[in-house]
Symmetry: C2
Subunit: 454 residues, 2 copies
Amino acid sequence: MKAFMEPEGVALIGISRKTGPGSFNLMENMIRFGFQGRIYPVNPNMSEILGRKAYPTIREIKEPVDLAVISTPRETTLGILSDCVAAGVRAAIVVNQGFADADDVGRALQKEMTAIAKRDGMRILGPNTLGVINNYTGFTTSFMPITKEEVPIGLICQSGIFFVGAREFSRNIGKGIDIGNGCDIGFYEALKYLGEDPQIRIVAIHMEGLNQGRKFLRLAERIVEEKPVVIHKTGSSERGAAAAVSHSGSMAGNYQVTRAALKQAGVIVLNEDGQMAHAVKTLLHLPLMKGDRVAVITFSGAAGIMITDALDRYGLRLASLSPKTTETVSRLSPGWMPLGNPLDIWPAVMLNGPDKAYAMALRAVLKDPHVDGVICVAIGPKVPDYAFLDVSDALKEVTGELPDKPVTAWLYGPNPDDIGKRFESTGRVMVYPTLEAASWALSILRGRHKILMK
Amino acid sequence: MKAFMEPEGVALIGISRKTGPGSFNLMENMIRFGFQGRIYPVNPNMSEILGRKAYPTIREIKEPVDLAVISTPRETTLGILSDCVAAGVRAAIVVNQGFADADDVGRALQKEMTAIAKRDGMRILGPNTLGVINNYTGFTTSFMPITKEEVPIGLICQSGIFFVGAREFSRNIGKGIDIGNGCDIGFYEALKYLGEDPQIRIVAIHMEGLNQGRKFLRLAERIVEEKPVVIHKTGSSERGAAAAVSHSGSMAGNYQVTRAALKQAGVIVLNEDGQMAHAVKTLLHLPLMKGDRVAVITFSGAAGIMITDALDRYGLRLASLSPKTTETVSRLSPGWMPLGNPLDIWPAVMLNGPDKAYAMALRAVLKDPHVDGVICVAIGPKVPDYAFLDVSDALKEVTGELPDKPVTAWLYGPNPDDIGKRFESTGRVMVYPTLEAASWALSILRGRHKILMK
């Protein structure tokens, strides 16, 4: 995979003359992304493009080429791959669609492509792929514009949507591998590379079909002891599984069996498309949870009940707070207030102000030996008039003092987004759009701890 | 309920001298909210507050009072209620906590409150409530600041969180009733009022416990024939149900039984806290779905598969597109492209430009007699450079021509929020944060159509 992720010389075969937005010019995108290596455009009808000399064929390039990126009509692909083999190129990305994702002709072409890989020792990524992203070296083969950010997140997918829609799927991508139809390089090779890459702390995977199942599972079992692997396996429905065949030529396999096997291997398996971004930010920023006991600090009893329900669904439970914790909060609250967990601190807030009440309650539960993690419910008030209802300073102070237990949060009110950013800027409190997600996030931190303790 | 929602004279008992942010002064909030009726503050230690004459007791007010709003310590509440009865006031809101939500003393006090309501013919809302919001007359009893907007959404809840967090829960509230502990007025009375209110088109309910179950269900069965009723029933877990008792003194009842009975009555029952806002905007803006056949237009095959899975979970299915529809799109696509449903139009976009490809595909599926609803997947591009990837104009034009089938959407990429707003500003396409939610939204439009056809 090194030739794909950190090439020094790259030949681009099938580059168009058009540049600028709307041209989806892969070479222009690669340069803009900051690739510092040598680029060799190959096009028999041009002498130069974007200021670089163009070559009629790959054989004409006299300097070493680690990687060929091929975006030409499918009829030409096999011939070009043979040229690459002849020119001593050992790695190629086939960008085009029209293979196992298309029709019988395409399936036959892809079979031949696999044979070239096997026979000639060339590694092929794709076809039907945006290729790779490496934000650490500034290299990408994506023809779609993508955002740059050095984050220790490795992504493996079977669709360019996850390169372009990185924000929805995983916040962002440090390194990404789109295996596309997977004619040669598959999930196994990609996971091996990102799993063993010290710059990558989390591996996020979108999976339509899993080939080399056993081999992949054995590898995953080993990788999860080092870093979390999160998988969104699609194709749960019969029609969805059939659609996977036509999208990436993938056999979706039995969904429930694959899911169970992945879980068994210690992989975090998602239920729906919104969860990947939540999983990634949770694992990136919060400490693991050493037990299953959760304290809830809330401005609202109703929210406490919804969290209680969600914890039950995700195998966690409400902590039985120690008397010391309850006493601390009860000193701030009216005498009639029944204090348990969820800890409804609104009356304490009314009497003592939000900052003081929140800080004392949070400090007490984080110090409580019966508590393993905390969910905070608070208001996102309009500022500046109601800035005093923003408890982010209190959270920052207390989680700074006591950083060992995970704290998730949910905000309501007129301004949850801005105040949520303030919460997250502490680096120790992550905010989620629903109580459900704030509860689920703790459960994956619990799961990770169990795996590491095995 | 009229005295609560549209009073002309209101006595406010237990108003503090403090004003401004942080004082949570109910009277100040009421005036700021725009209430045009008569307000009578009652406080024996003041002669005036906020420019209005204060009265030592309610008996001193010589003009008619429709509604008393009581926010005093619990020890004084029963005496004040008796004063109100003596002064001929027939409706009261008890704001304070400390009753069935608190301890044995509180429970006894609340029982006595119920007795006063029964014996003296006074209607009581609460205790433990923010009271009401009526955006149509500019009246509220909430001591928390809330946003003003005239929307035909009626909310019934058991917690102030839904007044303050209206955005998270239901976008906004036209009229709201917080029944709190429900000592007298409960879900039945509130649903009867909002259900029969011609200004309200959707009733959204947060429910911890349901008293008068049979009566409520019979009423709901009748109301859902006129307008949708959406309920988030909490207390699914044993601990959550126990917490409901301590939060609002509610008996959560058997969760599964209540849920099944509500569904049987035609109510839309939610699974988690994020869904209410989605349900409300869907029902407010989109037409009902006359069958279960969905067409998916997508820039990404992977997204199509995830939608296919979600449709299966929500009892919908992929439409078998008519040959005419497929032909229309295939004229825009490369020859090898297998075109089915999901309709992957990315190759067509590359050849024809996003606007043209999207408009032709959407027009074709909306005209297709085998299609009942549509899910659109598109990119939220950076503007102005990539503005040509924004297909909102195409969506506006086509849904304007063909407005009879519901269209939901999901966006990915660097700028989904801004482009999402452009989609929604068409008034005919609603955007959701996940593919799951965009699929679920169609299923509730399908459910509504079935109920109206019964």
